[in-house]
């Protein structure tokens, strides 16, 4: 064993830790304990986690160590502790979706993405905080408390995968799983200064992911750098027969795209992503990153993507409609919260749901039910599906010319806690750059590209064509090589 203190273990990247574990320099239990101690000291303030499974993680660490020693586990991430968003089912651990309505729900089955991680020898530390049912951009709608941004506890971590991003950023976990329905991996990654990928729709099985908008949801990894993120993405990607929308891809080798060479890579910057509402500091950092890539040999030009303003109403119509149906199963019959007093069946439904869901979830269920209801289906829902088709066509046109679309992840850096929820529409507008990607099923990632004067991280948004993760990974990796990794003040060495 090396003479490593917790701090220096936690500062390793996930892949470095994996290597040290294999070299018998660090034990799996040692790494796990380091994370658990970090959680104990930091999570009182941060609240990245809803559930921390100390005993389970330590037991798993021993078991994994044994299998590594026996040569059974050889994955680069074998033995590396991970955190999992609380809408992804891990057998035996609560899966609350940060909602009172699932406050005591413990799935008896495994999400395929979680299973894939267990198969490579990941040690699950616990379940991370999120916006309730992934509906939100700040992790303030959680029924289990607000997650704070590790860079500044007065700021939100973004959302909905705010807990996963804060945990990775603060050293509570080496990497994490999040889910992205309209930017829920990329936006908090941007706000927390970590790297997150939303892969092409269908790349990671949705089995065991508690659905928000089924046609938009996708699980993805969050890590401290591009290489870790790519290793985790490879680990969780698989064709799953339990998910009808899972795609049988043969090109799941993403690591080989980790080359420091963007020569000839065609990068387009949508003018529409640089207009009104974009914080000048964010714009500056993003354009500087584009310059860097151009200097390294990429061909960068600006173009008009079009339809950007329509993507938001289109997205919210579809997401809320699907959510209204997906969340109807939470009724107090089979699992989760049931109201204490009720008179008859329908009151049981109404009271359980009204008491169990928070305001933002109720808002979306109401609107979603409305846009599907008799007389409004064509005007709203079908109109949105038609718009989606046009959005997809706009991307198709763009990817005929470019390998990568580059822009900001969010119009601003992380807002202060308590400033966003009062005006939902304003909050939804913050998703302007991320949601179209989900409508079109595209892969996209957020990579740190600087900080604003207040010291809050800024994310660079790289979008690829369907199944072309390799292009954005290449751009992200080459860009990452040009700058030093930064850790939040409380965690920096």
């Amino acid at each position: 064993m090396g003479e490593k203190g917790n701090e220096s273990i936690l500062h390793l990247t996930a892949l470095e830790l994996g290597k040290r574990i294999k070299a018998r320099e660090i034990g799996v239990a040692e790494a796990t304990r380091a994370c658990l101690e970090r959680i104990r000291s930091a999570d009182g303030e941060l609240r990245s986690f809803i559930t921390v499974d100390e005993a389970g993680a330590l037991a798993a660490a021993d078991a994994v160590q044994g299998r590594i020693d026996a040569g059974e586990l050889t994955h680069p991430l074998a033995g590396v502790p991970v955190a999992i968003k609380d809408n992804i089912c891990v057998k035996g651990l609560p899966a609350t979706c940060a909602s009172k309505i699932l406050w005591n729900f413990k799935p008896t089955y495994q999400a395929q993405a979680a299973q894939n991680l267990l198969d490579i020898g990941a040690v699950v530390l616990g379940k991370t905080n999120m916006d309730e049912f992934a509906m939100g951009s700040t992790t303030e709608t959680s029924a289990f408390g607000i997650t704070r941004n590790p860079w500044n506890p007065d700021r939100v971590p973004g959302g909905s995968s705010g807990g996963s991003c804060a945990a990775v950023s603060s050293g509570e976990a080496f990497y994490a799983l999040g889910s992205d329905t309209g930017g829920s991996i990329r936006q908090p990654s941007s706000f927390c200064g970590v790297t997150g990928i939303k892969p092409t729709y269908g790349t990671v099985s949705r089995y065991g992911l508690i659905a928000y908008g089924s046609s938009l949801d996708q699980i993805g990894p969050i890590a401290r750098n591009v290489s870790d993120c790519v290793a985790a993405l490879e680990a969780i990607s698989s064709h799953d027969k339990k998910d009808s929308t899972s795609v049988d891809r043969e090109d799941l080798d993403f690591s080989s795209a980790l080359v420091d060479d963007v020569g000839g890579l065609r990068i387009g910057i949508p003018e529409d992503y640089l207009g009104e509402g974009l914080d000048p500091e964010v714009k500056k950092a993003v354009l500087a990153a584009a310059d860097t890539l151009e200097k390294k040999g990429a061909k960068v030009e600006r173009f008009s993507l079009s339809l950007v303003e329509y993507a938001i109403p289109c997205y919210y119509t579809i997401a809320m409609a699907e959510a209204s149906s997906n969340l109807s199963r939470f009724d107090g019959v089979k699992y989760g919260y049931r109201a204490a007093d009720y008179d008859g069946l329908h009151q049981m439904y109404k009271k359980s749901r009204s008491e169990g869901f928070g305001p933002e979830v109720k808002r979306r269920i109401m609107l979603g039910s409305f846009v599907l209801s008799s007389g409004y289906y064509d005007a709203y829902y079908l109109k949105a599906l038609r718009t989606k088709s046009l959005v997809k066509q706009a991307f198709d046109r763009a990817f005929a010319k470019y390998d990568v679309i580059l822009g900001p992840v969010a119009p601003t850096t992380a807002p202060e806690v308590g400033k966003s929820l009062s005006d939902p529409l304003q909050m939804y507008l913050g998703d302007i750059y991320t949601i179209a990607v989900n409508l079109a099923g595209l892969p996209a990632m957020s990579v740190p590209c600087g900080k604003d004067p207040a010291g809050m991280p800024i994310g660079l948004h790289l979008i690829g064509d369907c199944y072309k993760e390799r292009n954005i990974i290449r751009a992200a990796y080459a860009y990452e090589r040009t700058r030093a990794a930064e850790l939040p003040p409380g965690f920096a060495a």
Binding site: N104, K106, T108, Y201, S215, S244, T245, V247, L307, Y310, I312, P313, Y316, T317, S324, S328, D331, G332, V333, K334, Y335, G336, Y337, R338, Y342, G344, L345, H346, M348, K350, K351, R353, S354, F357, K362, R363, I365, M366, L367, G368, S369, F370, V371, S373, Y380, K383, A384, L385, R386, T387, K388, S389, L390, K392, P424, L425, L439, A440, G441, C466
Partner: protein, 97 residues
């Protein structure tokens, strides 16, 4: 606000969604829904004549399972989270008068 949401509409949507709002929440929801629908109405500025509604992004089809029994009796697991149960079944308020 172009979309005025009536009390009846809020009541009706509450029945569809099985949500019961307090009077205060109802007023807020009326405002809120009206505002959001106005915003959604922006889509009407976009001409989608002749555009097919797209429910699935990728042309994936015919994903099937063969007709082979693979699940056994997992009743205990299925009932493990039930708020109320009896005799191996989920217990709910009486459904028929």
């Amino acid at each position: 606000m172009a979309n005025i949401i009536s009390d009846e509409t809020i009541e009706y949507v509450g029945i569809l969604a099985k949500l019961e709002l307090s009077d205060e929440e109802k007023e807020a929801a009326k405002q809120d829904m009206g505002k959001m629908l106005d915003y959604f109405d922006q889509l009407n500025r976009l001409d989608t004549t002749g555009v097919e509604p797209m429910s699935h992004v990728f042309p994936v089809h015919n994903v099937f399972r063969e007709d082979i029994v693979q699940n056994g009796d997992d009743r205990d697991e299925i009932l493990a989270n039930a708020p109320k149960k009896k005799n191996g079944a989920f217990m709910v308020p009486k459904t028929v008068e």
